[in-house]
């Protein structure tokens, strides 16, 4: 791994590749990382950030967050804002798992109160929320009903009794991106997705019971405003997306864009995974409307999973979810493109922000975050590896530097196959149990691939976002129970 010699150090946490780094770059690329994290990045990150910088309509910089690593087209951790009038939209800037994201739920329980229930909670969660290869969810609906789900998102779920009204207010976009149009989605996508509502998926998707230890609270006031109020408080965090539905939408439009990109629009890209179309072209608009359906499917998926979690906690602990204080703290998307208003060179402009493995991090006072968080800044949920821990951050004013974007997770440093050679699933499960983390997995091989050592340090990543002034740390959570897809 070698950092390019052309890279310029702007500060301890901001590194810049000038437009002269690669022919055709329209803007410089900016990598947000400490020197240590920068050196851990694979070479491809720099090439991919440079390739993104060549896309038509890109504004200011092609960004990469501290958890950046190799991706398809865009690096994971990549952020690019395109001029809404002249720029392009690229499925490669969003990812195959559209609206892959994180949801965080509070409880009023402490670790001591549930210590003897963790195994039962995890085992029941594992049964109630299918995970792993394939998998059918508990919500049985027709294809026609599913079409309503993808246009309406999480509000559909709440109307069916899967959740609380306040959950919607505490979800990015209110759990529904307006303008979703299912006529722009293929039958294949519907057929892949319509029975997957309420499933976690596999790979790095997980559901965890976590503890907020007092020594891991970075900002007591802010933590309290987000609902973390007592020592050793229990929270539930989970990571999943739009399942086969979103993957198919991405695959379908990747092929459509490859067909028209050069012949119809004269666009050339370095990598087929950067296939794109002008945002205002019929293909670009169709993809945006289809993407919104996948975004809504993911919000709905996380909404019904939340409902299931509340049911399990209520059954095991003999109290209602309300009595257990199971309020959702927030839900964030980290694979998405959104039309947002940002100030560029003193002028407010509408831009299409691609965030791929990056989380929106609106600072205090910004529109688009719910009233309860208007003063605190938007909660940002960062998922770590199953062995180490995860974070709750808050958006800050300084995130305007990165079109209000920050990191999304820890980022892999070791390949899946290498991890399987180095770790054994069953042994890892035993070792984790001894350290107080009970894991129930759909696949031991899959478990080995997710070993903590295969990831960057989540502490380094979140610290880097704070040093760079694009978000701040509020609390760190350590896992005690994990459902692994």
């Amino acid at each position: 791994m070698a950092v390019p010699a052309e890279i310029k150090k702007n500060s301890e946490t901001v590194w810049e590749l000038p437009v002269t780094f690669r022919k055709g770059m329209r803007v410089p690329a900016r990598i947000y990382a400490t020197e240590k994290l920068l050196k851990e990045m694979d070479d491809t990150v720099f090439e991919q950030a440079a390739n993104v910088a060549k896309l038509p309509g890109i504004l200011k910089y092609s960004y990469c967050m501290p958890d950046g690593h190799w991706g398809y087209g865009f690096p994971i951790g990549g952020v690019a804002a395109m001029d809404a009038e002249t720029g392009v939209i690229s499925p490669g800037g969003i990812g195959f798992d559209i609206n892959c994201g994180m949801r965080l739920v509070a409880t009023n329980l402490t670790h001591d109160q549930i210590r003897s229930h963790v195994t039962e909670l995890v085992d029941r969660l594992f049964r109630q929320i299918p995970c792993g290869v394939g998998g059918k969810g508990f919500v049985k609906i027709s294809k026609n009903e599913f079409k309503r789900v993808v246009e309406q998102g999480a509000p559909w779920c709440v109307a069916q009794g899967y959740g609380w009204q306040e959950d919607l207010e505490r979800t990015e976009e209110g759990g529904c991106m307006a303008g979703a149009d299912v006529s722009k989605v293929s039958e294949h996508a519907i057929e892949r997705g319509f029975h997957q509502l309420g499933t976690l998926g596999s790979g790095n998707h997980y559901l965890e019971i976590q503890v907020a230890k007092p020594e891991n609270i970075f900002d007591k006031d802010l933590a309290a405003q987000f609902g973390i109020t007592k020592p050793d408080q229990i929270v539930v965090m989970f990571h999943c997306g739009s399942r086969g539905f979103g993957h198919q939408v991405a695959t379908d439009y990747l092929q459509i864009f490859l067909k028209v990109m050069r012949s119809k629009y004269g666009l050339e890209v370095e990598d087929r995974e950067l296939a794109c179309a002008p945002f205002h072209s019929p293909e670009g608009q169709d993809y945006f409307k289809a993407m919104k359906c996948a975004v809504n499917m993911a919000f709905a998926n996380r909404q019904v999973i939340l409902h299931r979690i509340r049911e399990v906690f209520a059954e095991v602990l003999g109290k209602t979810p309300q009595e257990l204080g199971m309020h959702q703290i927030y839900d964030v998307a980290h694979n998405i493109a959104k039309l947002e208003e940002h100030v560029i060179d003193g002028k407010k402009r509408k831009v299409l922000v691609h965030r791929k493995g990056s989380t929106r991090a609106f600072g205090p006072g910004m529109e688009g975050i719910p009233g309860i968080y208007r003063k605190t800044g938007q909660p940002v949920i960062i998922g770590g590896s199953m062995e180490t821990g995860s974070y709750l951050l808050a958006g800050v004013e300084g995130s305007k530097e990165t079109f209000c974007s920050t990191a999304h997770g820890s980022g892999r440093t070791m390949s899946r196959r290498k991890a399987r050679e180095m770790f054994q699933g069953r042994k890892l499960q035993d070792d984790m149990r001894k350290r107080g983390i009970y894991v129930h997995t759909a696949s031991y091989a899959g478990l080995a691939e997710e070993a903590g050592s295969a990831y960057k340090s989540i502490d380094d990543v979140t610290a880097a976002t704070e040093m760079a002034g694009i978000s701040r740390r509020v609390a760190r959570f350590v896992p005690i129970g994990n459902v692994k897809g």
Partner: protein
């Protein structure tokens, strides 16, 4: 196994190379390589039912891309794990068609040792080539 997995191509995902002495063999090898990412032991997939899979594309490369994508589709839409038994190609003006017969059964975690799910076939370094009768495909899967 006429395929092997590549370590250094995809950190977060899985890449493989599949080969054969004909494009038929190579397509079958690539199908097994894909299925083997999800199911640890392919022998556990027994012949309970058959599906005909037919895909058209403008060139052989995109034909393989869409063919593999179709196997992922059956895994999600019908919960089917499939292995390709035989296939034939048709070349006509403007492209290729492949018609395959695949056997398999409904996914059952008690019977099939499952590994990780595949989200999609990617275009990253995707390539199909032929050299002196040796066919080769390079595929990176999104996990």
């Amino acid at each position: 196994m006429p395929y092997h997995y590549l370590d250094d191509v995809a950190i977060a995902d899985i890449a493989f190379e599949a080969y054969g002495e004909s494009k038929e063999e190579m397509f079958i090898a690539a199908s097994d390589a894909l299925m083997n990412v999800m199911v640890e032991d392919l022998v556990t997939i027994t012949e309970r039912l058959w599906r005909e899979i037919s895909v058209e594309s403008e060139n052989l490369e995109m034909l393989l891309f869409q063919f593999l994508q179709e196997l992922i589709y059956y895994k999600d839409a019908e919960q089917l794990l499939l292995r390709v038994a035989r296939l034939r190609f048709k070349e006509q003006k403007g492209g290729w068609t492949v018609i395959a017969r695949a056997y398999g059964e409904t996914l059952d975690p008690r019977k099939h040792p499952l590994n990780v799910d595949v989200k999609a076939v990617t275009m990253h370094q995707f390539a199909v080539s032929e050299d002196q009768g040796q066919w080769r495909a390079r595929v990176v899967l999104d996990i």
